[in-house]
Structure formats: structure tokens, C-alpha cells
């Protein structure tokens, strides 16, 4: 970081500024370094500008949000490589003793919700889980991590920040790690299909095999590769995870990220209050959504499936929903042996 008094290029000043910002981000400067920095700042009026700009750009939140889908390798791989070296250096017995010594007592709790039931699960760290209908999950709080295995259904997570203990929701095909976040994770009927929606903060979606998706496109395409990756989601983004095949026919995990209008997730999360909010969805989709919450069967006859419906309904009352739909679409409703049929004359 030595500089002389001659006029330097803007790029050169940027380089020095970057070095100082990185160092001050790492630790406090020594007295000697502080003097050196001050000398550099005094040497050229542009130095302070370069330094101020470097600091501003480094902390600029937009920069962080430009990174979300940048690739990076799984840290687990780096870690396992290190452990491998360790094991090679030490004798196997010692390693096993060390591992045994570190084993901690882990308490696992299972939560299940019935059809139509929505459960609030407050956790000891201030995080809160809302379990949607017909769902089950397992909570494991360890010293170094908070793990939730979502086995079935859907849940919404409001995560208390704790950088030392990552909060991870593990699904069948991918896991969603919170970075100061509220988000929902849903396991779909089809094997390996998941949907993750971020309401606030940021979530890292990690899977043994997934690839990056073109950024800034409104709808991103399914993609996949052999790389071991994470994709970062921001607020108002949704990712659909599914199992697919690559060009050579071998299985891979694929994901698709969408940007949604702010507010859509909040509406879709009305289930937490026992309500279902529809806006221009097809009647078939709405009926399918109701079927998640009750055993009441609703059947449609004729070309009604594609009719659009909107409104706010009690998830627990599919009968009221059916009557409201019949009224607004001016169609008939019949109940036979507990099954509701909607039809046009």
C-alpha cells in the first residue's frame, strides 16, 4: 500500500482503496496502518473519494442481491476434504474417539397436523413455525445447527437470526437454509417436488445437484448440472424444485426461480389464519387447494374447470365455498351422499 505523490490513475487509487476496505473489514488497523492510510488520503483529493466509494459499494445491499444466483461450491465438500486430510494424518482410533467425544444428546420432536388443522409451534430460540394442514415435521436443535425435516405438507418459518446456528429446512430433494428470513416450504404430492417461497430476508436453497438459473428473467428455466450448488432466493421469489433428467438421461435435481409481485405471498399465506385467498385461479385449482384441508369432495361437471375464481374463503368450510362459487358463476349445485357437484344446466 505504498504510494508516492505523483498523480495516479483512478484504477490505481481504486486498488489501494479496495485493499484498505478489505483490511478494515478484517480487523482494526494498527497505529502504523492508520498513519499510512491518513497519509494516502492526504496525498490526493481523489483518494478519499475512491475510499468512500469503495466502502459504499462494498456495503451496498444491491450488490449482495446481485449475487443470489452466483454459483458456489458446497462447503460440505470443502469440509469433508479437510476431514479426510485429518483422518489421513491421525490414526483412525483417535478420530473415532474425537467423534465420539463430540457426540451430543440431540432431542428430536415431531409435530403433526390433521387435515384442516393449522398449528403454531413456537421454538425456544424465538423462531416460530406455522404448520399447515395435513403436514408433519421433525425439529432437531443442536449446538451448531437448527434442523427441521419437513416430511409432509407445508410449513411457514419465521426464523430468529443466529449466525452460529444455521436454520435449515430439509426436504426430499433440497434444503432451504435461512439467512434472517421468513419463508414457506411445501412438499408436493409428486416425489421430490417442493416449493419454497421467501417473504422476507434471504434463503439459500441447497441440493446435492442443482444449477444456476438465468438471473433477472421473470421466469427462469429448469436447468441442472453436476455441480454441487446453492441458489439464493430473495424476498418475493419462489423456487420450484423437482426431479428431472439431464441430457444423458441421468437423474438430477432441477429448480426454477420466479419473481412474484410483492404481496402475493402474504395473500397465499392466509392459510395461517385458516383462510384461503384466490385471485383469478381456475376453479379446478381452487377445488384442489380445498382438498388439502378437508375430506369434503367437490366435483365439477362440464367445461367449468377453467372458470376463474377470486375471493377469500374459510379453509375449513368447503361447502360455503361451493355455494359462493355456484352463486357467482351462476351454476347449479347438487349434494349427493356428501359429494358436492357443480354443473351448468
Amino acid at each position: 500500500m505504498k504510494v508516492t505523490m505523483e498523480k495516479h490513475s483512478a484504477e490505481f487509487l481504486d486498488e489501494i482503496a479496495a485493499n484498505w476496505v478489505a483490511r478494515m473489514d478484517a480487523r482494526n488497523l494498527t497505529g502504523e496502518e492508520e498513519r499510512e492510510l491518513q497519509e494516502w488520503l492526504d496525498s490526493d483529493v481523489r483518494s478519499l473519494g475512491a475510499f468512500a466509494r469503495a466502502r459504499a459499494i462494498f456495503i451496498n445491499p444491491d450488490i449482495a442481491s446481485a449475487i443470489p444466483v452466483a454459483r458456489h461450491r458446497s462447503f460440505a465438500r470443502a469440509l469433508s476434504k479437510r476431514l479426510g486430510l485429518l483422518a489421513a494424518a491421525a490414526c483412525a482410533l483417535i478420530v473415532s474417539v474425537v467423534l465420539f467425544g463430540q457426540r451430543e444428546q440431540v432431542e428430536t420432536r415431531v409435530y403433526v397436523s390433521e387435515l384442516g388443522e393449522v398449528r403454531q409451534i413456537p421454538l425456544e430460540d424465538g423462531s416460530r413455525i406455522t404448520l399447515n394442514t395435513n403436514s408433519s415435521l421433525q425439529v432437531e436443535y443442536r449446538k451448531d445447527s437448527r434442523r427441521v425435516a419437513l416430511q409432509r405438507g407445508e410449513a411457514y418459518f419465521e426464523v430468529a437470526k443466529d449466525a452460529q446456528r444455521p436454520f435449515v429446512v430439509i426436504g426430499s430433494s433440497a434444503q432451504a437454509r435461512a439467512i434472517g428470513t421468513s419463508y414457506s416450504v411445501r412438499m408436493k404430492e409428486a416425489a421430490g417436488e417442493m416449493q419454497i417461497r421467501v417473504v422476507s430476508g434471504r434463503v439459500a436453497v441447497e441440493a446435492p445437484q442443482l444449477d444456476v438459473i438465468a438471473p433477472f428473467a421473470a421466469v427462469r428455466n429448469w436447468l441442472g448440472s453436476k455441480a454441487n450448488n446453492a441458489a439464493y432466493l430473495n424476498a418475493n421469489q419462489q423456487v420450484d424444485v423437482r426431479l428431472g433428467k439431464d441430457a444423458h438421461g441421468s437423474g438430477q435435481i432441477q429448480l426454477s426461480i420466479r419473481d412474484l409481485q410483492p404481496g402475493i405471498f402474504e395473500r397465499s399465506l392466509m392459510w395461517r389464519e385458516g383462510l384461503l385467498s384466490f385471485e383469478g385461479v381456475t376453479l379446478a385449482e381452487a377445488i384442489e387447494e380445498f382438498s388439502r384441508y378437508s375430506r369434503q369432495k367437490i366435483v365439477i361437471r362440464g367445461a367449468l374447470a377453467q372458470e376463474r375464481v377470486s375471493g377469500l374463503f374459510a379453509a375449513s368450510d368447503p361447502v360455503a365455498f361451493a355455494h359462493a362459487i355456484a352463486l357467482s358463476l351462476k351454476i347449479k349445485l347438487r349434494t349427493d351422499e356428501g359429494v358436492i357437484t357443480l354443473y351448468r344446466q
Binding site: R46, G49, F51, A52
Partner: protein
């Protein structure tokens, strides 16, 4: 000169990040249009930041974008006064300065979006360890110390990676930095195969 332990406070850096950085591309575009006046865009921008950083308070600035344009404006004029020959066209042209600052920010947003895409591509093109360290620091918010132990590298090495990442952003941001991006794109990373490379390319 008075010794300052903190040349620029966190608060001021945040203010610059929130209110000036988003308009830097527009400011540079406007200054580039004045290139015939003989002023160096990078120099003017750095001096503008210096003035904004050195101000005792920014509370009174209600429109930071206009203010930054005005500061740059005065710096251009200052340079013009110091230069011996001032082309007549230059003085007349200065009149549209304010107009530049008052332009609707729709175009700014487009520029900023394009810029972030460039930044993203550039970050992707960083060497693997630099990229990992930078993401851990800026996206995941880990300290450099924590990153060092996580990646099994010395803190000094992590500092170098972070510094390299910042350098790239400084070159990329505002300046367009297409040169940087193109250069790093050509250079294939030795740790990466060509797998999925075509897929990863951004359409359009």
C-alpha cells in the same frame, strides 16, 4: 492536518450506498457526454465522492442525486476555469446540467439493472475461492475470521480474496467495466469443466 481515526463513518458510507451509488451510472453517462471538455470522468466521480464523504453533515440534502450532479457540475466548471482555453460550445452546453439531474429515474433503473447483471456475471467469473469468500462475506454475513476457518485458509488470504472482489466491483460498477467482464470470461477457470456452461449463459 487533524488526525482522524475513521476517515468515513459507517453512517456516511451507508448514506452513499443508498443515495449516490444508485445514480453513479447516470452521473457517469452524463459526464461522458461532456468528455470533449477535457475532463476525466473517473477523476470527477472520485472527487465528487470525496466531497460528499468530507461533508460534515448530509442531513440537509433532500435530493442526493441532484446534489451529486451539482457537485460534479462545479468540479467540471472548476477544471474549465483552470484550463487556458475554454471552447465556447462548452460553456453553452453546461446549461443542460440541471436537466441531466432531473431526468426521470426510469432510465437509471434500467442502467442499474443492467449493471447488476454485469456485476453478477463478473462475480460468477471470479476465481472459485475468491467468489466463495466474497459470497460468504457479503451474502451470508460471516466475518473474515469465520470464513478463514470455514475455508481452511489464513485470514490474510481471505483478506486478499475480499480485496480482489471489491476491486472487481469498483471496476465494474458505474464504469460498465465490460472490459473486466470480457477478460475474465475468456479466461477459463482451471477448476471448472465445460459442463452446463452453455446452459448457464444468460439468454438475451
Amino acid at each position: 492536518m487533524l488526525k482522524r481515526t475513521e476517515p468515513i463513518t459507517d453512517e456516511r458510507a451507508q448514506w452513499l450506498a443508498a443515495h449516490i451509488i444508485p445514480h453513479e451510472a447516470a452521473l457517469r453517462a452524463w459526464l461522458r457526454g461532456k468528455a470533449f471538455l477535457g475532463c476525466d470522468v473517473d477523476d470527477i466521480v472520485q472527487e465528487t465522492y470525496a466531497i460528499l464523504a468530507a461533508k460534515r453533515t448530509v442531513e440537509a440534502i433532500t435530493n442526493p442525486k441532484t446534489y451529486a450532479f451539482q457537485v460534479a457540475h462545479s468540479l467540471v466548471l472548476q477544471q474549465l476555469r483552470h484550463s487556458r482555453v475554454v471552447p465556447i460550445a462548452a460553456v453553452a452546453d453546461i446549461g443542460d446540467l440541471e436537466a441531466g439531474a432531473d431526468e426521470p429515474s426510469l432510465e437509471d433503473a434500467a442502467i442499474a439493472c443492467d449493471e447488476l447483471r454485469q456485476v453478477e456475471l463478473a462475480i460468477e467469473a471470479l476465481p472459485r475461492q475468491t467468489r466463495t469468500a466474497f459470497i460468504l462475506r457479503r451474502v451470508e454475513g460471516l466475518s473474515q475470521q469465520a470464513i478463514a476457518s470455514r475455508m481452511g485458509l489464513s485470514e490474510h488470504t481471505i483478506e486478499k480474496h475480499i480485496s480482489r472482489g471489491i476491486k472487481l466491483l469498483l471496476a465494474q460498477f458505474g464504469r460498465g467495466g465490460r472490459g473486466v467482464w470480457a477478460a475474465s470470461k475468456e479466461k477459463k477457470r482451471p477448476d471448472e469443466s465445460d459442463d452446463g456452461k452453455a446452459q448457464r449463459r444468460i439468454p438475451g
